[in-house]
Structures are given as structure tokens and as C-alpha cells.
Symmetry: C2
Subunit: 659 residues, 2 copies
Amino acid sequence: MTESTTACPVLPTRGPAHPLGLAQVSVTGGFWGVRQAVNATATLSHCESWMERLGWLANFDRVADGTTSPDRPGWPFSDSEVYKLLEALAWEAGRTGDPEAEWAIKRLTARVGQAQDPDGYLNTCFGHGGRPPRYSDLEMGHELYNTGHLLQAAVARLRTSGEDELVRIARRAADHVCRTFGADGLPKICGHPEIEVGLAEFGRALGEDRYVEQARLFLDRRGHGTLRDIPLGRAYFQDDIPIRQADVWRGHAVRALYLTAAAVDVAVERGDDDLLRAVERQWERVVERRTAITGGMGSRHQDEGFGEDWELPPDRAFCETCAGVASIMVSWRLLLATGDVRYADLIERTLYNVVATSPSPDGRAFFYANPLHQRAPGNPADENEVSPRAEAGVRAAWFDVSCCPTNVARTLAGLGAYLATTDDDGLQIHQYAPCTIRTELPDGRQVAADVETDYPESGTIRVRIAADEPAPWALSLRVPAWAAGARLIEDGRERPVGPGPVTVRRAFRSGEVITLDLPMEPRFTRPDPRIDAVRGCVAVERGPEVLCVESHDLPRPDALDALVIDPLTPPRADSGGALVRGRLPAHADRPWPYAPATAPTQPGEPGEPGESSRSGGSGEPGESGESGGWFDVPLRPYHSWARRGPSSMRVWLPAPPTS
Amino acid sequence: MTESTTACPVLPTRGPAHPLGLAQVSVTGGFWGVRQAVNATATLSHCESWMERLGWLANFDRVADGTTSPDRPGWPFSDSEVYKLLEALAWEAGRTGDPEAEWAIKRLTARVGQAQDPDGYLNTCFGHGGRPPRYSDLEMGHELYNTGHLLQAAVARLRTSGEDELVRIARRAADHVCRTFGADGLPKICGHPEIEVGLAEFGRALGEDRYVEQARLFLDRRGHGTLRDIPLGRAYFQDDIPIRQADVWRGHAVRALYLTAAAVDVAVERGDDDLLRAVERQWERVVERRTAITGGMGSRHQDEGFGEDWELPPDRAFCETCAGVASIMVSWRLLLATGDVRYADLIERTLYNVVATSPSPDGRAFFYANPLHQRAPGNPADENEVSPRAEAGVRAAWFDVSCCPTNVARTLAGLGAYLATTDDDGLQIHQYAPCTIRTELPDGRQVAADVETDYPESGTIRVRIAADEPAPWALSLRVPAWAAGARLIEDGRERPVGPGPVTVRRAFRSGEVITLDLPMEPRFTRPDPRIDAVRGCVAVERGPEVLCVESHDLPRPDALDALVIDPLTPPRADSGGALVRGRLPAHADRPWPYAPATAPTQPGEPGEPGESSRSGGSGEPGESGESGGWFDVPLRPYHSWARRGPSSMRVWLPAPPTS
């Protein structure tokens, strides 16, 4: 690894928080270390072999051979999967120096490169024999989207290894894009944003501002009806409203989020505070009104899109894995641009409950959609088959639209770069994983620390200082917003610390330990009453993890339809999960599920049809009555659901008044 | 009109209930009379002119001229719109003898007929120059679907006017289908069921059993993976499970329902009680678990399909107008096959709350989807533009996929045929509209009655006997399942009558009146607790109408997000609608909408985030507190929503415990 640059995916030229690269932060184990290892040893080769098997790699050979034809396998965006895999491999090679990853990069780079046209154009779906002409379907063709991912891969390579053939390919492709779509070129944009974020970072990585400028041009062209209208409307690809004027993210979630990531980059590079503030307002509105408790974004299957405010159905939540990755891209950029740890809060939630949910423990199967309620168990997946469906209720080895596996892979491989930042006076640790941090501040103060924790198994995070530095510096730790009751322990003294950053500033000696203790008791969480779809329900969270109930742990297959929870008995810890008190009221078979509201049996409790009996009038939930007795319902982390085979599952649990 | 046959869409050769035709039942005004008149004077010509403007009619000319080409306008199913319009025109001409309708039939028939190939094949999308070959896309090509609608149009013509050119065209098309897909032909089916129900009825109408047999063959071929798999899965077109083995309707709702209608026809014609019972069980499960309170079916936008059991989101309910029409087709056939009035209950609900909801008062704009909750008002529709979107929140003049307007038109024109039946001993009136009924029983007893009512404005239905008949006969009236407290008044004597059929059997004299009085006070309705999406909510119904709240009637644009209802104060009648007590609690702006469940302030009432204050502890909803005082919230019939311009709207109203 070249140590002269910071090996990280986002490196702004200004901003209050400076990212640390993979040479400065190294994950040494724990929750994420295991996942990085599985990613390295299984997922990367899994992705390459599927792309080979399906002909997505051979598509590059066919361009080189001049044997392209109408029957090309794969969607128009399949090239991008190769580039996302290259990005993942580059972070992996940078992180560990793994020669396998290095060989794979060279192997794939050679195949990609041979398909590049002399003018820099590089695409296996358009522009060659038997294929539609270049840029003939900007709405749905994904040509510039593919190029954006090529540029992100080249950034990873450049920052971990230096300029190589992949970087040169990317440079030619970027130059082609600037010539074709520059200020004097085609005044068009791509239906799927991504070129913008790729160009902006490639420009940063090379110090070539014209790439950043091209990104700005694409951004400013968007929102004026530049693309053709489609049945889903121009909001689908964010061409309905200019980004500076929009109040909220809408349409296809991944599109909206990739675009927004680029907007932060451009705002930072151009000192455009209005644009930055617009994005912050959009983030605030989406986080308040359009985000699942998992951090998942995108409520609709139809367009893989955001719905309206408060439209957050657990059963039909799409919460695409890629939208989780993209949300982290946005929040990380905002954190770097503002230093505000609220963005790290959302990143943590999304990492544990979206990104970690997608891959199976063996790294060879993935969730594409991440609903919060699975009504009917899926069918067991065939590991040798491509899943045509993104929402099967089981992890699939590969998808027809297989954007998620490589997105998970590149995120996990580069995860070290998202854990901590520095500013002029010290170190900020944002995410808690066992890791080593070695860096220095701009004035040369040595900042070195080892994080020791089995978080989120426990909430104890020990930061062990690893270098004597006589000059004081500031160590900031993020107390997550959920962590009411957190404590900081230093020199044997313990003090309560509120959510937000907690900072210790002084001279540190090697070996001393600052301990953050986060409360890991499972807790009930209530939704805003405006979220109609989960009215009257509670979720159970533990630390950063959202928990869920699976049918595996219930006595009857349809029990999840009937289960109600006692909200007055707090959840109890149970080996990394929780136990709550629940019961299974019997339900009458009624021919019609809507019935007159009967006179209430208790003030404030209108009659409900369907429940054939109810517990007596004393209001004590301990009474079992005829409607089923109370029993302990186990909950497990949502990210581990469906590991024990297909199941039904729910995060939000009905918790009716028990009086 | 030829009086020798019964002019109705479904005429089984056996079964306990005999349909009456348009010559026997004539709607004379009222709720449906107005809609029939608007349909006749506006909608029929509106549909024809849009099909002309968009080239869907010219597609037939192009086949005749040999000028077909790859750029054919319209979807592959656009031919079916012409046939559904022909069916509507045939019922209209049969109902009123309107010469305009008669001319339109001849005009359209001539145009259609010229496009028929010598072997009977008739389709403008496939099988001619520049077009894909015949039956080259059975999954999505809709060729046999189109033919099915042609056959239904021919049935309408045959039963209202007799054999004419349209009937001859249909016969040639049906013969072509039997030759091509018969027992010795291609063992295939169409991705969109409809040919089955068309063939079965055409066979009945002509007394040609081989058409019924072809319908049976298509039915029995289905469910065995006969069609290619698609990303949505074979359940989308019901090719996943044979119909006799299925427990429930699933996949695309209109497809499932058209198929089921044919299954009832085949079961009746073949005396196949197992098949009939299978369909009844499917109906029961769907009505219990997959039907909106409006009668709407199809919870998902993505596939216009049924979701899982209990998946009934009001905001994303698709409830396609055509699925409402198709549900009525199924329930009407089941009513004829069993005599059970529960089917008429569902028909009533669907007529008032789905079919009546679609058209605007002027009959020139339509809803395609019928959600029960509109979060953001739609944009005003341009009456000169085709809506690319089926879910705009406003009625549109025409749609890119414009199946609904002609489906409404044919249903309204033929509505008289769904109001009443006879059996061997008398008359059953199923739906209440002002109408004249003139028929005779098989043994010659004269049955004549005039129904006088302004139902559902009022609940008083007067059946005035219109012929002296010395032999006793039985008059049955349906007391809807919702009508607890109904009364029958006869000879000045009044008695309570329970839901279900109520029968008066005796000799009737002309002029005497039997009065059914249905309770029309608005009422609260609670959902089964397993319907997660509306937990803690009430709906308000009045008679057969579901009511709704529109933003027009609330003080703030976002008030519908905050509105809560007092469930302890029953709704009060208010000029065809209702008033309920509601308030608008203030909501705190929170950065994250999920918050710890705080200690309850009252037993049984866990804390909820987002509501910044709550009324005091006395449990009296009359206290306004800081969170907004109680006020009267007006509700209007759901079918009339969005008539006053774009609005947000909801049927299900949060009604939290008010203690």
C-alpha cells in the first residue's frame, strides 16, 4: 500500500473532519472483522465466478473480439458489477495486501481494458455491433452509471496502490465523458446517477478539477425534465426538481442517494453552502419521515423507491441493501463536511441492520430487499440458481439484478475507512469495532489507539492509547443517540455521558485506557404515531441492533399473525437478544374481517372483531384467560433472520393496551 | 330487443337462481340510474374517441390494409378495449334501444371485421407484417385475452339483438381458437385469463358445448408451469397451482378473478361440485383476509396483485377498478350457482365503493387504482392528456393502460342484469335501485314489481307489486350483513329482520307494497386485529357506503397525518355522510421518529413519541388540553372523493384509546 495518500473512498479537499484510510485504521476482529474475513475469502470469488458463469465478464471479451450481438447476457448495468467487484478487490488488496485480490484485479482489469474503444468509450451493452448506439437510452441504459462505478474502482486502486492500468482506463473513460457531455457537449444526464459521484472523487484523487466540474454540470442539469418522462414519473430518476430546490429525497432510493452523495462532494469542493444545507435539510426530512427503524430506505417495491412521508410499511418495506450502502455514502460525506455525529448514528444503524443483514454467514448468499415483516416464509433458495426475484424472503446466491452483493463487498472491504476521523486537534471514533488506529495530526502530534471491544455483544468499548504524546490532544467518542445512560470511565473515575460526542482532551500516555460503557439492555421502542403502518406496535432494540421475532421460535406457523406483546413488562436480555412477554389470542373465523365497533368493555378500549375472547376485566396481563396464556417470546438480531431456514418474521410487534 | 332470450351476461344452464335480463329488469333512476345515463351519454363516446385518437381503432384498419408495422400504437391488449366498448354498447342498445349505440356497434364491428384473417385469427398486434408471429408471446401477448373480450361482446349482442356480423366474427375467432388450442392442438394457455370466461358464455349463448369444453381445457392446463417463469413468479398469472388445488387467489388480481369466473361457469356446466366448492373456499379466504373494506381486491402495485393474507395497506391498496368489476363477475356467478346472498353482499359493497368510485360525475375521467388513503394530493389532471400513471390520486381522462373505463362502461350498461333473480317459486331482489321487474316463473306465475327507493340516500325500499297473481309466490329481499336492525313492513305490520334473505310468500295483488327499512345511521367499523396496516383505526360506514375524510374538510394541509378520532362518540348523520369527533394533536419535530417507550402515564397506555402533549389523565376526550381541541370532522362517501379537486384522503382513522 502506498502510504502517502489516504486509502479511503472519500477524501474532500476541505471540511472539519478528515477521513482516515485503511493504513491508519485496521479492523482486528469482532463483528465486522469476521464479516471482512468472509468477504475476502468467500464473497469476492463468489461474485467473480457468478459473473463469469453468466457471461457478464465475457461481454467485455465480445466487445474486444468484435462479436457483440443482440443476445448479450445481463442487464445494461452488468458492467458496473465488474467495476464494483474491482473496487472491493482494490480495498481488500489495500487492506491486507492479499495476493489473490491483486491477481484478480489484474485479471479483471485486462479484460475490461481490451473492451475500451480508442476514444475512451467503454460499455458492453451499447455502441458496438448488433447493439444499440451509444447514449441511445439515457433514461434506462445506465451507460454513465457504469462509468461512475469504474471511476470509483479506479479511485480505490489509486489510493491503495497508485496509478495502474485500471486508473488509466478510467482516465480515458472520464475524458470521453467530459468531451461528450461537457459544457459544449450533449446537455444530457444519465437516468441512474453515479457518474457524478465517480467523477467528483476521481477528480479529487487525481487533483483534476475538470472532473469535479463535470460532476457539477451533471448535477445542475438534473431536475429540469432533461430526461424523457416515464410511467413512474421523472421523480423516479430525480429529474423532476433541481436538487437545490428539493425538500426531500423521492423516487428510486439508490438513484436519489447516489445523486445526493455527489451533491455533497460538489458542495464541499465548490464551497457551496447553500447546496450543502439543502442536502442536510433533505436528510433531516427523510430521516424523520421516510426511514425504517433499521435505517433502511425505500418503502416501495414498484419503483424501489421512497414513498410519501410516513409511508413505512414493515411488510412491504423494500429497504434495498444497495440503498443502505448509498445512505452510508451520503451520511459519511455529510459527517466529513460538517463533523456532526448524527450522521454516524445513522451509519451505525444502517451498518448493523441493513448492510449486515444482507450476506449469509458464509458470504455466498444475499438479501436484496430487507423488509421488516415477512408474512409467509420464502422457499429454500437453490445455491446454483439465479434468483429472478429480489424479495424472496431467503438470501439468494445471485440475482438477475445483482447489484447488492458487490455493493456489500466493496463496503465491507473498505469499512475501516468509515470508523474514525481526525480534526486539527484530535481523533474522533465514530464506529466501535476492535481496531488499531495510527495517525498523526497536521502539526505532528502522534495519535495512536487500539479499540478493544466485542461490541455489540457487549457495550464496553476500551480505547487503549498506543503512543506517548506529550502534547495534549482530544479524543472524541460518539455516544449513540439510543444510548441513554452511557458512562465514561477514565482513571477509575466514572461519569455519565449524554448522547453525542464526548471528548477527553489532555496529554495521553501509551497504555492508558478510556472506557465507554454503553447500555445494552434490550429496550422497547415506539414509532411516531404518524407512521400508520406500525400504529400500536413496539419494536425491541438492543444497542445498535434492531431485534425481531421469527416463526422458528413460536409454537404455530401462523403465530406471528396473532402474537401480541405486553408493553408493560420490559424486555429482558437473553444471549445477545431479548425475551418479551407475549400471548397468542385466539381469533374467531369471521366471514368478513370488518365488524361493528362494539361497546367498549373498558373505557378507552373499543371492541375489536376477530379476537374471540379477551382477558378479564382486572387489567392484569398476567391472567391468561381463554385467549392464550402469556409466554416468553425470544427475539434475535434482525440481521440474523432467516439463517435457520425460511421463516416468517416481524420487527414491529402489536402491543395493545392490556387493561 | 329480442325477448326470447334473457339479455344478461351470465346465463347458466342450471343452478338454483335464474338471472333476469335487461328486458325483465329496468333501472328507472336513482344512484345507478344517473350513472347509467352518464355512461350512455358521455362515457361510451368518450371511450370511442380516445381509441380513435390514439390509433387503437386504426390498428384494425392497418391489418386490413396490410400496413401493419413495428410502430403500432397501444399495448398488445388495446384490441380488448374496443371489444369491451362493443360489449358496453350492446348492453346499452339492448337496454334502451339507443340508435347512437346501434350505429356505433355497426361502425366498430365493420372495422374489427375487416381485420380478421380468413382462418378466423383476429389480432392487430401479432401475426401480420412487421409484427411478431401469432402466439409468440403467450405470457404477455394477451392474444387470447383479446379474443375472450370479443366473445363477451358477441354474447351481449346475441342476447340483446340476435346473431349479427359481430357474432359471426366471434364465432370464426372462437373456432380458430378451438382448432389451434384444442385437445389435439397447442397445449398452451394465455398469460391473462379471459378467453375461458368468454368461451364458456359464448358456448352457452350459442348452445355450442365445444366452446365450453375448450374453456375447461384451458382451465385444466393452467397451474402446471405451462407458461414460462417470470420475475414476478408464475403466481402472477395463476400458473403456479392448478385451480382445483389452490386455497386462495394470488398474483395479478384481475387475472385471478377472470380465471375464477370461468371456473364457476365450467363447474356449473359440468356439474363439477368439487371445482365449485374449491372456488367457494378461495372466495371465503380472500374475503376474510385479502379484501379491503371497500370490497377492493389487490393490495400491491408492483404486480397489480393480491398480497399475502392480512396484507391490506390502505395507502398502497391498489384495488384496481377492473378487479372490482372482475370480483363482481365471480360473485354473481357464485350467487347464481348457489343462491347464497353473501355473494350479493360483496357485490353491493364493490359496486358502491369500487365501481362507483372510478368514474367522475361527468363520465369522462376515471380512477384506475382505488387506494383507501391518499397521503399527498395528486396533481390536477389534464383532460387532453393520457395519464401514464394508474395511481395519480386524481381521475384521468384516459390511461396508457386503459382497461378500467370500458370495464366500468360495460358493467354500468348491463347493471340491470345483476339486480334480481328468480327461482322456481319466486323473485329474489339482491340490489336496491328504483327499477321495474317483469317476469314470470317457469310455471307461468306472473311476477311483477316496481322498486321505489332513493337508496342509499335513505334505507327505505318499497317493493310495489305490479300484477295480480292469484297463485302464491315468494318475494325474497336481501338484508345486507351490515344492516343490523333492519325491519320489514307489510300491511302496516312491522317486524325486525335479520341479515340474510327475508322472504314473504303468498298471493300478491297489484299495488300492495312491501317495505324494507335498512338502518342508515353512520357506524364505526373496526378491522380484524390481524390487519396490521390499520391497527388502532376505525372506519365509518353508512349503509353500503364506506365514508372517508378529505383534506378539503380539514383546517391544515397536513391535518390528515395528525387526525385522531374519538371512538367513544358514535358518528352522527350529516347529509349523506357523517360527523365524528376528532382532534389534531400537535406533534413534536423529532430528528428520529422512533423513541424509547416511556413509562405509561395511564395503565395500558405506553408512551408514544412524536405527540408533544397529551390530554390530561381524567380520560375525558372532551378535554382539549394543549394538543388541540375536539372538533367535528365531516366524512363523505368514499366514491365521491377527489371530486372537489386533488385532496389527501383517508378511510381508516386512528382512534387511539382516549383515556
